[in-house]
Amino acid sequence: MSATVSGPSAHEGEPSAAELLAAGDILGLMRACHDRRLEREGIPMVLGLADERGAIPEAATAAQLAEGRAFAEVFERYSAELVPWARNDDEGAVITAMQVLAYTHFAPGAAPISDPASGTEGSHA
């Protein structure tokens, strides 16, 4: 059975990101992160880094790499669940999956990235 949200989530009386994740309600996570009250709540994002002049050296700490890989795993999961129809270069679909990732694993009160879906823990970057 799926937990659902009828309005902005992580608000009083509504399931937190962690609860939605535990219920496997990825659609609910997407609704909740799109229902943020923008005059009082930020939009959490995890942004990639691209150096157009050349390659960025690989991250030197195991924790940063582990967290990035854990993020990549949940990105795959949310993409498959929400936007399986998307082309590889569908920017809007990429943003949607990344928004759910950030809302679920980075916003205050969100589920730590060490959740069972990723099976990995890390805390850097």
């Binding site: 005059e39 930020g42 942004l47 880094l49 790499l65 990035g68 590889n88 270069d89 569908d90 990429v94």
Partner: protein
């Protein structure tokens, strides 16, 4: 040239090349306590990201502080970015990043509501109670001493609404020149309306690069371009 895609995003994450960002817009006084609570949560769990920190992350690929970094971004150049958001960042030890639509700041206060409505700048009720909605140039200079300010074009334009050379000059080049004249320091980054990525239009990419920006912020990534 890195265009947004699932492959690019996956690869960046797997290589540990990512940073956390929180995007804000109008931060009215009436919601100050909730904003304070949210920012305090970020300040507790994450480290501030200065321009030097971001440079170092790109140069080494490695985040160098004990806690992961977070960039709170306060868009548009609202007056309440100066009266509400920046003081909270100061209090909490966060470095705020402020993309400013420079013509919004230039606009006479009595016309700022219309400017906002004409240029995709969202308003909350408190913004429409009269008085100045945008920060002024003195305030821009003041926050630039402790935070990062950079152009969000002049008129809050997307790259797909900027056609002529004169448009590019005004939105990309003149906005940078104006900010730098006021702050006395480099405007290190640029962001289009809607956070369009580098790589969508060679002409617009070149204009941003030639203007001397170090970074272009976008919705899926931060591009280092100079």
């Amino acid at each position: 040239m890195t265009r947004p895609s699932f492959d690019a995003q996956r690869e960046q994450l797997q290589r540990g090349h990512f940073i956390r960002v929180v995007n804000y817009h109008s931060t009215p006084r009436g919601a100050r306590d909730e904003l304070a609570k949210e920012l305090a949560g970020f300040a507790r769990d994450y480290a501030p990201v200065t321009l030097d920190d971001l440079d170092r992350l790109f140069e080494t690929g490695t985040w160098h502080k004990d806690k992961p970094g977070v960039i709170p971004v306060f868009y548009e150049g609202y007056r309440n970015s100066v009266t509400v958001a920046a003081p909270l960042c100061d209090e909490l030890g966060l470095t705020g990043w402020f993309p400013i639509a420079t013509s919004f700041v230039d606009c006479e206060p009595e016309h700022q509501e219309a400017f906002a409505r004409a240029h995709w700048i969202s308003l909350v009720e408190e913004d429409t109670k009269g008085g100045r909605i945008a920060m002024n140039w003195d305030e821009v200079a003041e926050i630039s001493k402790r935070h990062v300010v950079f152009p969000h074009t002049a008129h809050h334009e997307g790259f797909d609404g900027v056609f002529s050379d004169a448009d590019l000059e005004r939105e990309v080049v003149e906005s940078k020149r104006q900010l730098e004249a006021v702050t006395g320091q480099e405007a290190p980054a640029f962001v289009w309306l809607h956070g369009s990525s580098y790589g969508q239009s060679p002409r617009h990419d070149q204009a941003v690069r030639d203007a001397g920006y170090r970074y272009q912020f976008a919705n899926t990534m931060i591009h280092r371009i100079n």
